[in-house]
Symmetry: C2
């Protein structure tokens, strides 16, 4: 049975964990390698393919050996999230215009999530910030320096931004996946058309009748991101 009693794992022990004493058998694998294998698996076959057995097979370990490197599957997911967070650049110079800096950060996050489509779903779970995520947070806070928001507000902006991007990209990915399955998309269109034709949904009928030109996800994202960030007041 999956744990869900909210206990979780002490983040301090997880991320800043104790170094080896030298005593005892030498580890045959590494947290890094296991995490990387899990990420590769998720990239290639989706989050559902990431089972302890599959990951173990991928690194050539016995299943239970994984539990020497992560106490939980949930924790393994956290490790995966932090692992890919390392792909986010943290050293490019900031422009000093905090709004455009923040927008750039949003676009970086989106690109990362498109590269790892399982990421929005994995972020939904409870998550403590690992070192890589913290490095990126550090950068976001630096971008927010010109504002006079207090500390809590800055942290909140970051987490809202991340949540927004995750939500948007998750939706974007679902749309793209639906488009890949043409039968499914057609069935859905037929359904909506049937509903619109029943006379009880005039607004829907009107909306479907006047579609407008299709919007690229990129443009939509940019528009909403800009709205969100332009609307932030500096306190």
């Amino acid at each position: 049975m999956t744990r869900h009693d909210g206990a979780g794992v002490d983040p301090q022990q997880l991320w800043l964990g104790t170094a080896r004493t030298g005593r005892g058998r030498k580890p045959a694998f590494s947290r890094e390698a296991i995490t990387a294998a899990a990420v590769a698996l998720a990239d290639a076959e989706g989050l559902d393919a990431v089972t302890m057995r599959r990951v173990a097979a991928e690194v050539g370990a016995g299943v239970m050996s994984l539990y020497s490197y992560a106490p939980d599957k949930e924790t393994l997911l956290e490790l995966m999230v932090d692992h890919v967070s390392g792909e986010l650049p943290t050293d490019e110079p900031l422009t000093g215009d905090w709004r455009s800096d923040l927008k750039a950060i949003g676009h970086l996050q989106r690109a990362l999530m498109l590269r790892h489509p399982w990421l929005p779903a994995a972020l939904t779970a409870r998550r403590t910030l690992g070192p890589q995520a913290l490095a990126f947070l550090e950068r976001a806070l630096a971008a927010l320096r010109p504002t006079r928001l207090d500390g809590a507000a800055k942290l909140e902006v970051f987490s809202q931004l991340t949540g927004f991007v995750a939500g948007h990209v998750g939706y974007e990915i679902a749309q793209a996946a639906a488009a890949e399955a043409p039968g499914r998309a057609a069935a859905e269109a037929r359904y909506l058309a049937a509903v619109a034709a029943d006379g009880h949904h005039p607004e829907l009928a009107a909306a479907l009748a006047a579609p407008g030109r299709p919007l690229t996800p990129e443009a939509t994202f940019t528009r909403f991101l800009d709205r969100l960030i332009d609307g932030l007041d500096t306190g």
Copy 2:
């Protein structure tokens, strides 16, 4: 094994499904009752408690009997979502000020999600709009009538709004849950303090040092929602 081949279920058959022919054994339960039981279970014990066995036990049916009413567990989740969507009011008059109408819609959605905390997570999955959700969509489209957005843009606004609210409330719930477990929250605070003290995270240290007064989730939600909606241009 859980299905994930993207096949899904034909929405037309699911929602507008064929009426009984009269032939054959009479159903001992109803889709409605099963869905309601599943919702009650999720409300009381969370989404993880919603297993086919538990739901069946709750309505007094054999496990496999559920499959006469929903082909899938995933479909059962869709039914649950639509079921609670019926709690959203669809007949209160609109003010004609589309921005404030839309904000009211956002607040209604938030209230619904707070009442059914599993809802944001359930929305993450692929979802076709059931009749109750469609009724509410109809209302949102009506609110957007004064704008001159084209049909696709209106639908997009609705789905973005829903996504935003789900993201926010999901985060809000996670925060509240963390606050309930004092040990966990304290551990997290200790961890962040330790990171801030390592010298490599000056911005984080500064942010933690100048916390500001705590923000109520309600106020934060309102602020972000307002920003998002005020920023929408009428095309």
